[in-house]
Subunit: 106 residues, 2 copies
Amino acid sequence: MENCPLDKAKLGFHTWSLLHTIAAYYPDEPTPQQRKDINDFFTLIGRLYPCETCARDFTKLLASRPPENDSQKSLSEWLCRIHNHINQKLVAKNYEQKYWQVSLKI
Amino acid sequence: MENCPLDKAKLGFHTWSLLHTIAAYYPDEPTPQQRKDINDFFTLIGRLYPCETCARDFTKLLASRPPENDSQKSLSEWLCRIHNHINQKLVAKNYEQKYWQVSLKI
Ligand SMILES: Cc1cc2nc3c(=O)[nH]c(=O)nc-3n(C[C@H](O)[C@H](O)[C@H](O)COP(=O)(O)OP(=O)(O)OC[C@H]3O[C@@H](n4cnc5c(N)ncnc54)[C@H](O)[C@@H]3O)c2cc1C
Ligand SMILES: Cc1cc2nc3c(=O)[nH]c(=O)nc-3n(C[C@H](O)[C@H](O)[C@H](O)COP(=O)(O)OP(=O)(O)OC[C@H]3O[C@@H](n4cnc5c(N)ncnc54)[C@H](O)[C@@H]3O)c2cc1C
C-alpha cells in the first residue's frame, strides 16, 4: 500500500472513520452476541492499534468507560464522547508543548 | 462525524489503511496471544464491517484463507493477497455489469 505504514494523524483519521461507521450501523436492539462482538472489537483495537501509547491510553479509557452497547444510539454517543475525550487530551498536550516552548524561549 | 456513515468506497479505503498498518506493525515473532488477537480481529471485521455483502464474502474468504499469522512478513503478504482477491472480484463484477449493459444496449 502506498504511504504504508501511515503516520499517526492519518492512521487516527482512517480509524475513527471506520469506528464511527461501525457504530452508525450497530443494531438498535443488539443480541447478546452482537454486544459481546462490539466489546471484543474495541478491546482488540486497544491491543492492536499500531501506535503504542495511543493503544495503552485507549485500553485504560475503555476500562473506566466501557462501550455503552445497549443500542445504536447509545453506542454512537459513547463513541463521540470517547473521541472528544481523546481530542481534549491532544489539545491539552499541545498546550503543554507550547508552554514548554515558550518557557524555554524556543 | 462529517459524512458519516461513509459510502462503500471511502469506508473500504479507510479500513484497508488501518488493516495494512496493523499488519505492518505485527511482531516478527508473535506470542500465542498475539496470534489469537489478530485472528479474532479479522473474524470481527467479518462480522462488524458495515457493508453486509462485503462482510459476508470476507467471512467466507477468511474460512478458506485464514490469516497467516506466523510473522509480520507472512501476515502482510497474506493481507495483500486477500486485498488483491477482493480487487479482482470487484473488477470481475464491473465487467459483468458492463457486459450486462452492452447486452441490453444501455
Ligand atoms: C483509538 C484511538 C486512539 C488514539 N489515541 C491517540 C493518542 O493517544 N495520541 C495521539 O496523538 N493521537 C491519538 N489518536 C489519533 C487522534 O485521535 C487523531 O485521529 C489524529 O490526531 C488526527 O486528528 P484529525 O484532526 O485528523 O481528526 P480525528 O480526531 O482523526 O477525527 C476525524 C474526524 O472525526 C470528526 N470528529 C472529531 N471529533 C469527533 C467526535 N467527538 N465525535 C464524532 N466525530 C468527531 C471530525 O470530522 C474529524 O475531522 C488516536 C486515534 C484512535 C482511533
Ligand atoms: C474487508 C473488506 C471487504 C470488502 N469487500 C467489498 C465487496 O465485497 N464489494 C465492494 O464493492 N467493496 C468491498 N470493499 C471495498 C473495496 O475493497 C475498496 O476499498 C473500494 O472499492 C474502494 O477502492 P479504492 O480504489 O479506493 O482502493 P482500495 O481497494 O480501498 O485500496 C486502498 C489503497 O490500497 C492500495 N492497494 C490496493 N490493492 C492492494 C493490495 N493488494 N495490497 C496492498 N495495498 C493495496 C492502493 O494504494 C489503494 O489505493 C471491501 C473492503 C474491505 C476492507
